[in-house]
Amino acid sequence: MGSIVKSNRGYIEFVIQRLSAIYMALYVLAILTVIFINKDLDFEIIQDLFSLMPVRILTFFFIVSILSHGWIGMWIIATDYINNAFLRNLYFVLVMGMILFYLVWSIEVIWGFE
């Protein structure tokens, strides 16, 4: 079974998937808590909240978690179901392109460059 090179990539991805899932769950819980304790939540409050550097950084980590979690999952789906090498690579390019686009876009949203 020469197709398997000794690597620990599967293990690392496994750990990343679990950690990112936990982080995303905690972040969503935190945001929901903010929404529930602020009865009269409005644009100002949200803007104030997201002008804080720690909130921006934690939000950025949230985006990174989704994207890395998503990439690993999409990679697994492709290596299960897409056998044609050309189609599989095309799919990888598309998914990677999307992920990079979301990454740049989320930085723009969080830090609000003009």
């Binding site: 079974m1 090179v5 599967g10 991805e13 290596t79 299960d80």
Partner: protein, 238 residues
């Protein structure tokens, strides 16, 4: 008077020499309900009385050798320990899924055994050989329960979608159950290597906890639990 009943079979047929295609062939078998017939017995009667060209593997006829695993009404199992009374009167028999068919119900298990061999299913111990034997405490011996009983019938691995998609890379439930059997064995000292050998994205991590293996195992073993133990042991390294 014997109570006679009729069984309708629909059996997968393929002969590489003269058949152009694969087809399902129907057989009707009369049997005495009071006879406690097993499915294997029924197949043998079809071969004897109706169609000597039907091929299938079998040996022990008591659930020990693992030769007669097949797909029975959509679910993998051993024909020799499947009572006809547990099945409906219409029975569809197919070879184990996901493997090349050699003929009728006989599949080529080569890739299954290759994956089994990959986990080094033997004791590795680099300590000097003791005069008599390597002792093990009763507690340590207990850890092997649920592993050594496997008869390598292949029902679990061929029921696993992850194995269907990547049979050359994913070890599959049967092989991983044996990997864990040696990982937990107190007399084996190659635990670290065994774990490191399985850390690529396919060998063990392709298991998505579908649990078809647990559902079909005729020995009531739990490969999913063993697989999860391998992952847990990996987390303890370093």
């Amino acid at each position: 008077m014997a109570k006679v009943n009729k069984l309708e079979f629909s059996i997968y047929r393929y002969n590489p020499d003269d058949d152009k295609s694969v087809y399902m062939q129907d057989y009707t078998l009369e049997f005495d309900i009071e006879q406690n017939l097993m499915l294997l017995g029924a197949l043998e009667r079809i071969k004897d009385e109706l169609d000597p060209t039907l091929s299938f593997r079998r040996s022990c006829r008591e659930g020990v050798c693992g030769s007669d695993a097949m797909n029975i009404n959509g679910k993998n199992g051993l024909a020799c320990i499947t009572p006809i009374s547990s099945l409906p009167r219409k029975i569809a028999i197919r070879p184990l899924p996901g493997l090349p068919v050699v003929r009728d119900l006989v599949v080529d298990l080569e890739i299954f055994y290759k994956q089994y061999a990959r986990v080094k299913p033997y004791l590795i111990n680099r300590q000097p050989t003791p005069k008599k034997e390597r002792l093990q405490s009763p507690e340590d011996r207990k850890k092997l329960n649920g592993h050594y009983e496997c008869i390598l019938c292949g029902a679990c691995t061929t029921a696993c979608p992850s194995f269907w998609w990547n049979p050359d890379k994913f070890v599959g439930p049967a092989g991983l159950l044996q990997a864990n059997r040696f990982i937990v064995d107190s007399r084996d000292d190659a635990e670290l290597e065994r774990l490191q050998d399985l850390q690529d994205p396919f060998s063990v991590f392709r298991c998505r906890t579908i649990m078809n293996c647990v559902e079909v195992c005729p020995k009531k073993l739990n490969p999913t639990k063993a697989i999860n133990n391998i992952k847990k042991e990996m987390l303890k390294i370093k």
